[in-house]
Symmetry: C2
Subunit: 133 residues, 2 copies
């Protein structure tokens, strides 16, 4: 592992996440960080998202639309509710990782590193709009 350097770009990307404690796709980060550094390249954004994820500063999740989203990994452990209507994501603080699940995993000789729980459905807003669904 080479040592990470502190560059203007890297700092600006982390600043984006500190100001937007939410699930950001690479494009989102790109457009937000360009407010501070207009000439930053999308490639740099991707490279840093990857690096920062490997460092453990960010947490990467691939959502059902096939796009990866990132968030600060320092946040409380939580899970996601994804709205199938508007694609918005709401956090769930309850963690469903139960003792039964843990036992089944151990029984298989599997070593769990991390896990992810996602609920897909429709948020209040979209339920009202789509009441004809």
């Amino acid at each position: 592992m080479p040592d990470l350097r502190s560059t203007k770009q890297r700092r600006a990307i982390m600043a984006v996440f500190n100001q937007n404690k939410y699930h950001l796709a690479a494009e989102d980060v790109y457009s937000l960080v360009r407010e501070a550094i207009p000439r930053i390249s999308l490639g740099t954004v991707y490279r840093n998202l990857e690096t920062l994820s490997q460092q453990g500063d960010l947490f990467k999740t691939v959502f059902p639309d096939g796009k990866a989203r990132y968030e600060l990994s320092g946040l409380d452990h939580h899970h996601h509710m994804v709205c199938l209507g508007c694609s918005n994501v709401v956090d769930i603080s309850e963690c469903p990782f139960s003792q039964e699940v843990r036992e089944q995993i151990n029984k298989e000789g599997f070593e769990a590193i991390h896990h992810r729980f996602e609920v897909f459905g429709f948020c209040q807003n979209c339920r009202q709009k789509d009441s004809d669904r």
Copy 2:
């Protein structure tokens, strides 16, 4: 919604899933179905995977590598353990969708359609190989 027609291609794709009750990426389906229909096109495979998923015959999941996998939706409800070493997937039959989680979701006005629970880690095989990790 137009009415679905029963084509040779569509039947062959379903046959692939009936013979391989597992998580198949579009490429996998493509190469398997070409054994029966060598001139089938990849576009047709994608279109049918999408159609069949919307019909509820298949269930689509996007894995962390950004590729979508499909499986028969008639199978028992289950979840996934993904090995970070060899990328193999093992099913978990325990479902962690607890009453507490359900309550939190309802409290947000969210209507849950389906959910996904994934555990990432290392399978027995990879743990032995990588005992220096």
